[in-house]
C-alpha cells in the first residue's frame, strides 16, 4: 500500500465521483482531524439517478478494488467502522460477494431505503440510524463533522472508493466510468481517462451519431443539455451521457419524464422544490411554455432549495428550453 494515502489522493487531485467533485483528500482530512471518540465511513452505492449504471458496473466487475478502498479508509481514519450502503437490487446481486471480501473488517452492508433521495448523504445517515421517514438534514453541519449519530462520517461514492483502492495499490490510471445511453449503437459503461470530452468519449466508443442530435450530460435527470457544438467539454455530474435524436425526440415528453422523476423523488419538505416542481409539471402538461413563470421557479429552486436535488433540478429544463425548444 502506498505510504500516506491522503498525500496520494492530493497528488492525483481525486475528486468525489458522486457528482459533486468535492476533493476527496480534503474530506478525508476533515473526518480524520475532527475531534471525536469514533468515526464512521459510508460507501455510497445507492445509484439513484435515472440511466446511470456506473456504480453497478463497478460493483459487478471490480468489487475487490472498492473494498480495498474502504479498507484503506478504515486504516487511515482512527477508530472507525464502515457501512456499505446499497440499492436494494445491488444488495441482492452483489451483497454476498462484498460480504466475503469484507470478512474480518468492521464493514456492514445496509440496504437502501427510498429512491433517489435515499442516496443523499444525510438521508443515508438517517436510514442507518433507523429513522422511519428519512429526510435530508439541514447542512451545515456536514457529515464530515457530524454525521452518523453525531460522529464525523466520511461519505464517498462507490467509484471514489474504487479509485482509492486503485491508488493504494499503485494501479490508478486517472480513469473515470461513463454510462452511455439513449439513441446510440453501443450502450454501456466505459472506463476512460477522466479528462476526456463528451465528443471524444462518443467517438472513441463508436457512439458518435451521424444524425442531428443533442445530449444530456451528467445524469439522466439532473444533467444539462448540450448541443453538438458544445461537446468539447468534460462530462459533469455522475458521468452519464444520454444521446437524443433531435428529430425523433419530443422535448415536452422528455421534460414530462423529468418532472415525473422529480415529483416522485423529492421529499416535499421545502417550498421551492415541492411547489416549484409541481408547477413546472403543470406548465409542461399544458404544453405552453410560460418562460417568465418557469424562470421565476428556476430562480427559487437554484437559490433557495434545501438540498442539492432542488438546487440542481432546474438545469435540464433550463438548458433544454434555451437550446432545443427556444
Amino acid at each position: 500500500m502506498a505510504g500516506n494515502i491522503i498525500e496520494e489522493l492530493k497528488k492525483y487531485n481525486l475528486l468525489g465521483r458522486s457528482g459533486s467533485f468535492f476533493p476527496t483528500a480534503l474530506k478525508w482530512e476533515l473526518v480524520k482531524n475532527c475531534k471525536a471518540s469514533k468515526r464512521y465511513i459510508i460507501c455510497n452505492g445507492s445509484e439513484g439517478e435515472p440511466k446511470s449504471l456506473k456504480d453497478k458496473f463497478i460493483l459487478q466487475n471490480y468489487p475487490e478494488a472498492v473494498i480495498q478502498g474502504v479498507k484503506t479508509a478504515l486504516k487511515t481514519i482512527d477508530n472507525s467502522s464502515a457501512f456499505i450502503y446499497l440499492r436494494k437490487d445491488y444488495y441482492k446481486e452483489f451483497g454476498n460477494k462484498l460480504k466475503r471480501l469484507s470478512k474480518g473488517f468492521p464493514i456492514e452492508l445496509i440496504r437502501k431505503k427510498g429512491n433517489y433521495l435515499g442516496g443523499e448523504e444525510t438521508v443515508i445517515c438517517e436510514v442507518i440510524e433507523g429513522s422511519k421517514r428519512p429526510e435530508p438534514r439541514i447542512k451545515p453541519p456536514f457529515p464530515s463533522e457530524s454525521g452518523l449519530w453525531g460522529y464525523p462520517t466520511l461519505v464517498n461514492n462507490v467509484e471514489t472508493f474504487y479509485c482509492v483502492g486503485k491508488i493504494s495499490q499503485g494501479e490508478y490510471e486517472k480513469t473515470r466510468f461513463y454510462t452511455i445511453t439513449g439513441d446510440v449503437k453501443k450502450q454501456g459503461v466505459y472506463e476512460l481517462p477522466e479528462d476526456y470530452t463528451v465528443k471524444r468519449i462518443l467517438k472513441q466508443t463508436g457512439n458518435y451519431p451521424d444524425f442531428d442530435f443533442f445530449v444530456q450530460s451528467g445524469g439522466g435527470a439532473m444533467g444539462e443539455i448540450l448541443l453538438e457544438k458544445e461537446l468539447n467539454k468534460q462530462v459533469q455530474g455522475i458521468g452519464c451521457i444520454v444521446v437524443f435524436n433531435a428529430k425523433k425526440t419530443n422535448p415536452i415528453a422528455l421534460m414530462k419524464e423529468w418532472t415525473t422523476f422529480f415529483l416522485a423523488e423529492n421529499c416535499d419538505k421545502c417550498t421551492p422544490c415541492r411547489e416549484g416542481i409541481y408547477r413546472i409539471d403543470e406548465i409542461i402538461k399544458k404544453g405552453r411554455i410560460d418562460k417568465q413563470t418557469l424562470n421565476d421557479i428556476f430562480l427559487v429552486l437554484e437559490k433557495t432549495s434545501l438540498c442539492p436535488l432542488g438546487a440542481n433540478a432546474s438545469l435540464p429544463f433550463k438548458t433544454l428550453i434555451k437550446k432545443v425548444i427556444k
Binding site: P140, T271, E275, Y278, V300, T304
Partner: protein, 563 residues
C-alpha cells in the same frame, strides 16, 4: 463567547452558536420568517427567511444558518425580495384563503408578507382547493386546503406524545393527515392550531357558532370565565364588564370553581395518603390529559383524581345549589364557559358529568372566540368600566387564580392539604419549587414529620415519558403528580390568543401570581363560599359526590370525520 458580525452594515456582537435569525431578533432587525417557531426545531422548510452573506453566491435561510466571526449579512436586496416573493406565491398556491374566518384574523403573517413583497396571491391556481376538512371529535377542525406543509403541527403533535398528525404520501405528494391507527387519537389540546402559521386548524364552531350562547331566548344565560383568561385579553373587571355588555344574565368566576376543586382534591390527597391507596394521585382538570390516560394508559385510571374540573363543578353548582337558592328551574339555565382550551368543548360533553340528566356546562367559548364576539359587537374592553363578578360565585381565593399556570393546581392543593394533614396553619403559602416554565418540576414537601415527593409536568409528551418511567420502575415514590397538556399550563392553551411563545407564557404566568399575591384569602378552603356550600349543601354526601366527583373508563378512539 461573543463574536462580531454585521447585519445590513450594523455591527453587532452576538453569542457564537446563534443563528442569523436569532441574532437579528435580538438586535431588533426584522427578517420575515414563516415556519419558524421558537418552540420547535428548525426545519427551514418555507424558505422565506433567506438572506445573503457577503462574498457568497447563494441565499441562506437565516433560521438555520449559524453566525461566524466577521460574517456580513444582507437581509434585503432585489434578489432576496424576488426569491421571497416567488416562494410566497408558491406558498399561496397551496393555501386556500379564507381570511375573514381565520384564527390569525388581523395578525396573519402570510398576508402581511404578501403586501410587503407585492405578492400576487392568485398567481397559481390553488392546488389544494378540493382538499377536505377533517374534524376531530367535537373539538378541532383541520382544513387541509389551507396547509402549507411546514409540518409544525406534526412536530408539536409528536412532542405532545400523541402522534395523531402524520405525514403520508398521496400520489407524488406528501401531506399532513390524521392517523388512521386504532389506538392513536387527537386529545384536542390545540397545540397544532397554535403552531400553524397559516390557520389550517380551528376549533369546531370557532366562527359559525360563537353567537349561539347569545341566542338563548328563554334561558338565563350564566357565564363563567377561566383563571387563564385574565392573563390575556383583559383584567377580571374588564372581562366581567365585557360579558355583561354582551348580554350575560350572570357572570361567575371559574376560579371559585377551582377553589371547590382544590378543596375536594386535597381531601382526596389526604384520604389516599392515609389509606396509601392509588398513589400517586394524578390531577384531573386538564381534559386532554384525562383523555390521553383513558385511551393510552388505562392502567392509571385508578390514580386519576375523581374530582371534577373547575368549570364542571361550578356549572354543577349553578344548576343545583344556585338554582335552588334562586328558585329557578335548572333546565332554564344555560351555562357558558369562557376557556383557554379547546378540549374543554370535549369535556362538557362527557356523559359521566351529567347531574340528573343535565350537563353542568352547556357551551364553551374559547378566549379567541370570546374576543371575536367582542370585536363583532364592537366592544372594546379597555374602554369599559370594570365590574365585579356576581355573587355568590364571584370571589375566588388566590389559590383559584393560579390554576391557570403550570404548578398552580399542585400549589393550591397543597396549601389546603398541608393544613388538613397537619391541623396546623400554613404560614408561607408559596410553593415556589413547582412554579415556572421548566417541563418537569419535582419537589419534596415536608408535611409534619414526613416528606412528600411531588411532580409537576407541563407538556403532554413529557408526561407520557414520565408515566413510562413509572411503569418501568425508574421513577417511584410520588404522592401527587400534576399534568397540564399544554406548555406553561392553561395560559398556553389551544384556545388562547396567538401568537404564543415562552416569553408570552412567562408574562401570562406572572400576571396570575401577581393577582394571587394581592388576595387576602389565598387558600381555597378558606373561601367563604366554599365553607358555606360545604356546610349547607354538601352535608348530603350523595349530592356532594354528584357535584364534585366523576368517573373514568377505558376509551376507544373518538370520531374523525371528513366534512
Amino acid at each position: 463567547m461573543k463574536i462580531q458580525i454585521s447585519i445590513d452594515g450594523k455591527k453587532i456582537k452576538v453569542d457564537n452558536g446563534k443563528t442569523i435569525l436569532q441574532a437579528a431578533e435580538e438586535n431588533g432587525i426584522e427578517i420575515p420568517a414563516l415556519c419558524y417557531h421558537s418552540d420547535l426545531s428548525v426545519r427551514a422548510s418555507c424558505r422565506i427567511c433567506v438572506i445573503q452573506i457577503k462574498g457568497k453566491k447563494e441565499l441562506y435561510p437565516s433560521c438555520s444558518t449559524k453566525v461566524y466571526s466577521g460574517m456580513e449579512v444582507i437581509t434585503d436586496s432585489p434578489e432576496i425580495r424576488k426569491a421571497r416573493k416567488i416562494n410566497l406565491e408558491l406558498l399561496f398556491s397551496q393555501h386556500k384563503e379564507e381570511c375573514s374566518d381565520c384564527v390569525w384574523y388581523d395578525k396573519c403573517n402570510l398576508l402581511e408578507l404578501s403586501e410587503k413583497y407585492n405578492v400576487k396571491i392568485d398567481r397559481f391556481k390553488d392546488r389544494k382547493s378540493k382538499y377536505p376538512v377533517y374534524q376531530f371529535g367535537n373539538a378541532i377542525q383541520f382544513d387541509s386546503s389551507k396547509c402549507i406543509d411546514c409540518r409544525n403541527c406534526v412536530e408539536v403533535c409528536h412532542e405532545q406524545g400523541v402522534d395523531f398528525l402524520e405525514i403520508k404520501e398521496k400520489g407524488s405528494l406528501f401531506q399532513v393527515l390524521p392517523s388512521k391507527k386504532k389506538n392513536i387519537d387527537c386529545i384536542y389540546c390545540g397545540q397544532c392550531l397554535i403552531h400553524c402559521p397559516v390557520g389550517a386548524f380551528e376549533a369546531v364552531g370557532e366562527f359559525e357558532d360563537i353567537e349561539k350562547p347569545l341566542k338563548q331566548k328563554d334561558k338565563i344565560v350564566v357565564f363563567q370565565f377561566a383563571p387563564a383568561i385574565r392573563s390575556t385579553i383583559g383584567t377580571t373587571g374588564q372581562i366581567v364588564a365585557g360579558l355583561k355588555k354582551l348580554g350575560a344574565d350572570k357572570v361567575f368566576d371559574t376560579c371559585v370553581g377551582a377553589d371547590f376543586t382544590t378543596t375536594s382534591e386535597a381531601e382526596e390527597v389526604v384520604e389516599r395518603i392515609k389509606s396509601n391507596k392509588n398513589l400517586p394521585i394524578l390531577t384531573s382538570c386538564c381534559p386532554s390529559w384525562v383523555k390521553f390516560l383513558e385511551q393510552r394508559f388505562p392502567e392509571f385510571i385508578p390514580n386519576i383524581s375523581t374530582t371534577r374540573s373547575p368549570q364542571t363543578i361550578l356549572g354543577g353548582l349553578i344548576k343545583t345549589y344556585w338554582a335552588e337558592k334562586q328558585g329557578i328551574d335548572p333546565k332554564k339555565i344555560f351555562v357558558v364557559s369562557i376557556m383557554p382550551c379547546i378540549a374543554k368543548k370535549f369535556e362538557i360533553a362527557r356523559p359521566e358529568l351529567r347531574i340528573s340528566g343535565m350537563d353542568p356546562v352547556d357551551y364553551v367559548l374559547t378566549t379567541r372566540e370570546f374576543e371575536r364576539l367582542l370585536v363583532r359587537r364592537k366592544i372594546d374592553l379597555t374602554k369599559l368600566k370594570p365590574q365585579k363578578a356576581d355573587d355568590i360565585f364571584g370571589k375566588p381565593s388566590g389559590a383559584g387564580v393560579i390554576y391557570g399556570a403550570t404548578g398552580g393546581v399542585m400549589e393550591s392543593a397543597f396549601r389546603t392539604a398541608y393544613e388538613k394533614l397537619t391541623n396546623k396553619k400554613l404560614n408561607n403559602v408559596e410553593f415556589k419549587q413547582v412554579r415556572g416554565m421548566q417541563g418537569v418540576k419535582e419537589a419534596k414537601i415536608k408535611i409534619g414529620s414526613k416528606c412528600k415527593k411531588i411532580a409537576v409536568i407541563n407538556g403532554l409528551g413529557l408526561a407520557k415519558k414520565f408515566l413510562q418511567e413509572i411503569k418501568s420502575g425508574k421513577r417511584k415514590g410520588y404522592t401527587c403528580i400534576e399534568v397540564m397538556a399544554c406548555s406553561g399550563g392553561c395560559i398556553g392553551g389551544g384556545g388562547q390568543p396567538m401568537p404564543i411563545d415562552d416569553e408570552i407564557r412567562e408574562s401570562r404566568i406572572k400576571t396570575l401570581y401577581q393577582i394571587d399575591e394581592k388576595k387576602k384569602i389565598r387558600k381555597a378552603h378558606e373561601n367563604p363560599v366554599v365553607k358555606k356550600v360545604y356546610k349547607e349543601f354538601f352535608k348530603d354526601k350523595k349530592i356532594a359526590h354528584e357535584v364534585l366527583h366523576t368517573s373514568y373508563s377505558k376509551k376507544t378512539k373518538g370520531l374523525v370525520k371528513i366534512i
